[in-house]
Symmetry: C2
C-alpha cells in the first residue's frame, strides 16, 4: 500500500518549516540531499538515532509536509528528498537551510575546546 503524500500544490511553507525545525529531521534531509538510495534503516544508521519507533513519527512529519517521498519497496520504505517540488515552490529555501545547518556546525566546532595534550 502506498503512503499518502501531498501534491506539490498542497505543500505549505509553515508545514515545511515546522517539519525542518528539528535537529533529527534536519540531519535526515542532509543525508538524503547527499544522494544515493536510502531506506529508513540506512538513514537511521547514518543519523545515529537508536530507536526505530522514534523515527516513525519523524518520517510521517517529513512525508506529510511534502519534504520527502516515502515509497514502500519490499519490506522497507525507500526515502528521497522532494527537492524538485520544494525548489519549484520555494526557490532557494532548501539550499539556505542546508547551508545554515553546515554553518551552525562550523560555529559549534570552532567553540569546542581542543582536547588537552596530556
Amino acid at each position: 500500500m502506498s503512503l499518502r503524500h501531498p501534491e506539490r500544490d498542497q505543500i505549505r511553507i509553515e508545514s515545511v518549516l515546522s517539519a525542518l525545525g528539528n535537529p533529527v529531521r534536519l540531519a535526515v534531509i542532509r543525508v538524503l540531499d547527499a544522494g544515493g538510495e536510502h531506506n529508513c534503516t540506512s538513514v537511521l544508521g547514518i543519523v545515529g538515532v537508536p530507536a526505530k519507533s522514534t523515527m516513525t513519527h519523524h518520517w510521517r512529519v517529513l512525508r506529510d509536509s511534502g519534504v520527502i517521498w516515502q515509497q514502500p519497496s519490499g519490506r522497507e520504505n525507500l526515502l528521497s528528498l522532494r527537492r524538485e517540488d520544494l525548489d519549484a515552490r520555494y526557490p532557494g529555501l532548501l539550499d539556505a537551510i542546508l547551508a545554515g545547518v553546515v554553518g551552525d556546525e562550523a560555529l559549534e566546532a570552532s567553540r569546542t575546546p581542543l582536547p588537552s595534550a596530556t
Copy 2:
C-alpha cells in the same frame, strides 16, 4: 527590565525554522519586515489575533529563537525583526521564507472560487 535574547552566534537554524513553522508567527514577521515601528498591540491589530494571551507565547518563541527583538518601552514592548542577524547567519533564508508565504497566498487565492453573480 529587559528581556533575554540570544546573541547572534547563539541563534540556531532549527529554532528559527521551528519558530517560523506557524502561520501566526509567519504573519508577524511579514508585518515587521514591511517596516515601521510596532508594538505588540499594533501587530496584534494587523495580524488579527483576538487573544493577547495567545500572543505572549508567540512573542517568546520568536524572541528566544533570535527572530525578533522585543524591547520594553513604557507600558509596551517594541518589536523588530532581527534581519541583520538572520541575514548574516543564514543568507537568503528570510527572503526565501517571506517569498514562500506570498507564493502560498497567491496559490490559495487562485483556488478560491469567485462569488457567483446572483
